[in-house]
């Protein structure tokens, strides 16, 4: 019971504002530096965590779908961690790794808002993500492959 309360507390206290901003100047121009790119993907991941939590609270993520959501979140987090390592090392492939992380993040958002249980079925036949995920990019199943649009 105490653990559940703590988890609930964490979810309430860690701000939803994490996913509520983009890295832009006051006049709307996007900042394109490694830190800005990294921060934008971090905040997008914060946003997808909000989406997953909202779907769970609505009772749409239980059983096999919850287990699949956990696996997808862990995959997206691994991609994010890889990008973090490249950012820290000032590696030249940072942008590529951030795009991979974006794809993994978008896949989570698209899956949890679908009604599919199997992610593979969703990836092959699922509909285009139509809303509720203002990530700045979206996952779109196209001819059996997942692509993402900005």
């Amino acid at each position: 019971m105490l653990k559940r309360l703590l988890v609930l507390g964490l979810l309430l206290l860690v701000p939803a504002a994490l996913g509520a901003c983009t890295t832009t100047t006051p006049d709307g121009q996007t900042i394109e530096t490694p830190n800005a790119r990294m921060a934008a993907v971090e905040l997008a991941y914060g946003k997808v965590l909000d989406i997953v939590d909202a779907e769970r609270k609505r009772g749409r993520l239980t059983g096999a779908r919850a287990a699949q959501a956990v696996r997808l979140l862990q995959a997206a987090k691994a991609a994010l961690d890889t990008a973090r390592a490249a950012h820290k090392a000032k590696a030249g492939n940072l942008v590529t790794l951030l795009i991979v992380a974006e794809g993994a993040i978008a896949a989570v958002a698209a899956y949890v808002q679908s009604k599919e249980t199997s992610f593979l079925t969703f990836a092959a036949t699922g509909g285009e993500l139509t809303g509720g995920a203002p990530l700045g990019f979206a996952m779109k199943p196209t001819e059996g492959r997942l692509t993402w649009t900005r």
């Binding site: 105490l2 988890v7 964490l10 979810l11 890295t23 971090e42 956990v70 979140l73």
Partner: protein, 61 residues
Amino acid sequence: MDPVTALNAALAVLALGREIIAIVEKTKAEGRDMTDEELAVVQAGIDLKHNAVVAGLIAGS
């Protein structure tokens, strides 16, 4: 987990949450990039939130 540890953890999360909101608002208002230190704080918050969301999914399934 004993209540004191749980309370301390909740208070730490609250402080971190406030710090992150301040960073996001400040950098946006100033129209500048996050420093490495500010980015590290945001990343710590993301890690914490990831763990909480995954724990919530596992506990509820």
